[in-house]
Symmetry: D2
Subunit: 147 residues, 4 copies
Amino acid sequence: MSPTDNRFEPLNPEFRTVIREQFERQGLLRNFDAKLLDIEPGSVTIAAPTGPEVSQQDGFPHAGFGWSLGDSAAGFAALSLMAAGERVLTVEMKTNLLAPAVGQRVIARGRVLRFGRSLCVVQSDLFSEAPDGEKHVAVMLGTMIRS
Amino acid sequence: MSPTDNRFEPLNPEFRTVIREQFERQGLLRNFDAKLLDIEPGSVTIAAPTGPEVSQQDGFPHAGFGWSLGDSAAGFAALSLMAAGERVLTVEMKTNLLAPAVGQRVIARGRVLRFGRSLCVVQSDLFSEAPDGEKHVAVMLGTMIRS
Amino acid sequence: MSPTDNRFEPLNPEFRTVIREQFERQGLLRNFDAKLLDIEPGSVTIAAPTGPEVSQQDGFPHAGFGWSLGDSAAGFAALSLMAAGERVLTVEMKTNLLAPAVGQRVIARGRVLRFGRSLCVVQSDLFSEAPDGEKHVAVMLGTMIRS
Amino acid sequence: MSPTDNRFEPLNPEFRTVIREQFERQGLLRNFDAKLLDIEPGSVTIAAPTGPEVSQQDGFPHAGFGWSLGDSAAGFAALSLMAAGERVLTVEMKTNLLAPAVGQRVIARGRVLRFGRSLCVVQSDLFSEAPDGEKHVAVMLGTMIRS
């Protein structure tokens, strides 16, 4: 979803502040040295560097590393559309891996597919970033609940 | 799956050694201070302590923390049945959250539902552990590939 | 889940009547000549015969045939615990196929894993039935919403 | 994926013939009076009319009806890229429902996200069609295996 997409109207004009604040409170994202790259209504992008601290047995990024970034990006994408004081929680989330993640960073682009009265359907696309470009490495599809 | 279940015959008699070795190489699990609690044919249990380093914005364990433990437990459960030299990779994995994880530890019990020629269907059950007992906090269902 | 499991207390003493009535109204299940085999609190079993009308290109039952039975069984399992007047709707549902379904019937055993204030996590196990016994052919894991 | 997208090169120049032939053999799709609307490399569209024969208890199309169309569309999308003689089988498939399907038809647009040596990651988008336009009613994400 591009930044110029007006399909979603945020309920809370301070949504960027809310998201930055909650991002700072996610200990796992600090552990991963993650960064918030972009916040738009219904769309949030997070990235974090690969490395031994987040690897699996063959040196590749652990699937859980990318999943965590994607879950957070999708959750924040849903949160960006919520009213002040609402919280977001993951109900369920599935990932399909497309390719091994090789590169210095993994980027998670989360977006809202449907923003409902209590449930939000969300998607995250994960990309690995290397000098020769980005590679689509996973697709995640799930549900967040507004509480 | 109890330790006395003989439904699965391991192809490699050294499967426990293989798993411990690959467990040690998972940087993310070391990051989480995870421990291997049990290894049986088709069934592996991993646990890790909760805390600020693996939390989300409200102080609860991040969904990605539990997902990572469950993915590893399920992957190792599949690996326990594979021949020497085979590798295990996640194809897809879904989690459904049942309850918030409150407690000092999250335990992931991974098991194989079906061990095929190339694909394995696996399940992980996540539990949070507190002084008053264990609570079932998530169910994960997914697919591993032998390579 | 066995019939003697008292883990779930139905809110509506007439739950069996509600389920039989809603089962009768599912046109797709009538199309499949499906039968309600068992109704317990939190657990419902449905079966339907295989055949050309529900097949895929190689003569096996279409994955959608089993999925439909499993979705209904899981939905009714959730409904069995709901108050009078509540409705059940599928939020999301995933199936993992374990083996080809060979036999005269497919049986779907749906059960509730967690019954929440608005969401229910459910599971369905599909079996194919042939003269030499039952074979576990699919596992389904999903979410229903109370409305 | 639009028809002009050349991202995928079919291995079998007769892919349209193969798909039409296998579509005709799917008894469940005949049962649903389904039609093949479009076949492109990596992208197949199928539609079928709603009605009492495919309904759930409230008169809406049963989730299994749409799921079946989406599974077939995604499977055929994968098959369109396979070599002559290969078969396609569903490994796993998840649906997230976005909105109730109201209208005369459900349209399933299946496409390949990744075409691998043995596994294909696929997606289907379901739409309901009514006089006032199309509505996005479900998203499906899954895995097919080449055999």
